[in-house]
């Protein structure tokens, strides 16, 4: 798992209900350590690029995974993704879109912008919990993350 103090997951979610349910699902699957929450796209970008209220955060400790909602105030999810992929400091961070919709347009744009995975939140909470368990296990345990040097230096 992640080192102490390092952020393992950046959860970008504007809806409090969704936020609580998602955190609950993560907690129940023992994946809730070192979670950073951003409530809109701008905050997410501030965190990733260490600016705004995150000035002073070290760029070297980028999250191992970004869970990204699409419909967000200020800057929407796809725009966050675009900026991440355009910037060398964030280009290699795994991003999973976790959203209500599976509109073809969103799917297409998401993958074109280089998202690593696209998951529609099921209405059934049991299924949602299972989905969160699987994706946490996969991206934080099974999957080999890019080397830290590459994340920072590239």
């Amino acid at each position: 798992m992640s080192k102490d103090g390092d952020t393992s997951i950046l959860l970008v979610e504007d809806n409090v209900d969704d936020l609580e349910l998602t955190l609950h699902a993560l907690r129940s699957n023992k994946l809730a350590n070192n979670i950073e929450v951003a409530r809109d796209g701008e905050e997410a970008l501030d965190f990733l690029f260490c600016r705004g209220r995150f000035t002073g955060r070290t760029k070297g400790s980028q999250p191992s995974l970004v869970l990204l909602d699409l419909k967000l105030p200020k800057v929407d999810g796809l725009e966050v993704l675009r900026e991440m992929r355009n910037n060398p400091a964030t280009r290699t961070i795994p991003v999973v879109i976790l959203t209500s919709s599976k509109e073809e347009k969103d799917l297409m744009t998401g993958y074109q912008l280089g998202v690593n995975s696209y998951i529609q939140k099921p209405v059934d909470f049991s299924q949602f919990r299972e989905t969160v368990r699987q994706l946490g296990l996969y991206w934080l345990v099974v999957n080999q993350a890019p080397p830290v040097e590459a994340v920072g230096a590239a």
């Binding site: 073809e104 209405v123 059934d124």
Partner: protein, 588 residues
Amino acid sequence: MSWGLNGKITAGFAVALAILGASAYISYQSTGQLIETSRQLSHTQQVLESLEMVLVTMDDAETGQRGYLLTGKESYLEPYEAARKRLSSVFANLDELTTGDSESQRNLGMLSRLVKQKQQELVATIAMKRANKTDEASWLVMSDLGKKEMDDIRDLINRIETREKARMAERNVAWEASSRRTTQVVVLAVGIAFVFLLAAILALNSEASERARAEGDLRKNRARTKMLTDSITDYAILMLDSEGRVLSWSPGATKILGYKQEEMVGQSFSRFFPPDDVTAGVPQKELEKVLVNGRAEAEGWRVRKDGSRFWANSVMVAIRDDQGQLHGFSKVMRDITERRAALEEIESLNRDLAQRASELEAANKELEAFTYSVSHDLRAPLRHIDGFSQLLVDEYGPKLPEDVRRYLDRIQNGARQMGQLVDELLNLARIGRKEIRLQVTGLDSVVEQVVSDLKTELNGRKVDWKIASLPYVECDATLLKQVFVNLLSNAVKYTRPRNPAVIEVGSVQKNGTPAVFVRDNGVGFSMKYADKLFGVFQRLHRAEDFEGTGIGLATVQRIIQKHGGRIWAEAELDKGATFYFTLGNRAN
């Protein structure tokens, strides 16, 4: 053909005339020669007669001399005297006749000398008799001198006569030859002239009949043209002179414009233009355009005799001969008021249609935005309802009364069902908007995939699958998979009371097109409700018997219709159902 028929005829006549003239000249020449020859002949005749006269006269003179010598009577000397007088006139005549003929003159000179010698002998003997020297006279007579002289005269005259006769014969021969030649030439000339004349006359004749035929054709053509223009009553057909004045006016023109031919002939064609157009020079401009381009098409209002207006379409053409000389114009005009109205109607409809289309497009955009936000925002509260209900059960379940747990279960069921409904409705809307992507697809593999997915959800039920070989078709494979998912899961659902369930997939020919069918031995339905089968939210079974949203078959129909195909069902209550579909002309 630079000569032309007329030129040739003229030439024929000219040649014939020239030949005839030449032959007349030759005849004239020949006749002159004939006259000359006959004059010469009579000339020769006179010479011969005169010579004969000399001989006779000399004989008479000698006879008179002899009589006197024998009788001594002076009366015997009378013939002699007469002969002597006659001789001088005969010689004068001969001299005149032979003027220019040197040989004859020479011969005549000789004759004259001989005659004078003889006369001298006669004079001498007569003088001797008178002097009574009768013996001497007789001696002179007896000396044969007189006879010899007479013989010489006769010989000479004979010679001259022979020569004259020979010359006459010679002239005759020459004249005959020449007149024969003349005759031949004249006959030949007349023959040739006759041939030329004949040819010219024949040509003249054929030209005349040609002209008569042409005139006949022209008359027939005119009659036909008139019949044609007269029979066309939906078009005004008119001829204008080069100034735009009416030369001819068809019955169609009378029908369309109301003016009779006698009213319009000589009038300017601007008469049936609206006054404003005439002031603005519209008719004149039309004429100018025709003069420049050779043709002009015009559309506009024209005025009938009764003042009413109609919308006309007209074509005007300049009529020029081979040399480009303008002879006037032909004008054909139609009343297209109705067509124009129809066109305007169509244009107005098109405008409406375009308006509707843009409205529809706007509505579509709105719908798209609507479904987008539905897909994002409508599902979220359902997730929350289900999620927090679940947390309630998870965290306080054991403490909760049985009823509360059952209510929570109902709440969760409702939320999930609505989630499914939203998903399916969104899917249906998406299919409506989506462009289908056709590719040749083997339906076998699609069905195989769907069936293998369904087998995992059978929960131990016994199902007898009878899957026949299916054709390759041109279709959107993703959408066709949805069709089979819906039809086959329906079959699985509605055969739940059957053991074993029998589900059959195959293809048949329906009205010449291949149709795919999915058949089951399930609960079926009454054909009474067959028309409701494919409507959105239409269900033929109660939800507690067979769960469902009522969107599945509507989605299937939408997909089939998008492929240009047709879907229908045959069923019987409690006996099972068969769903057929075709893929229209795109089926392969």
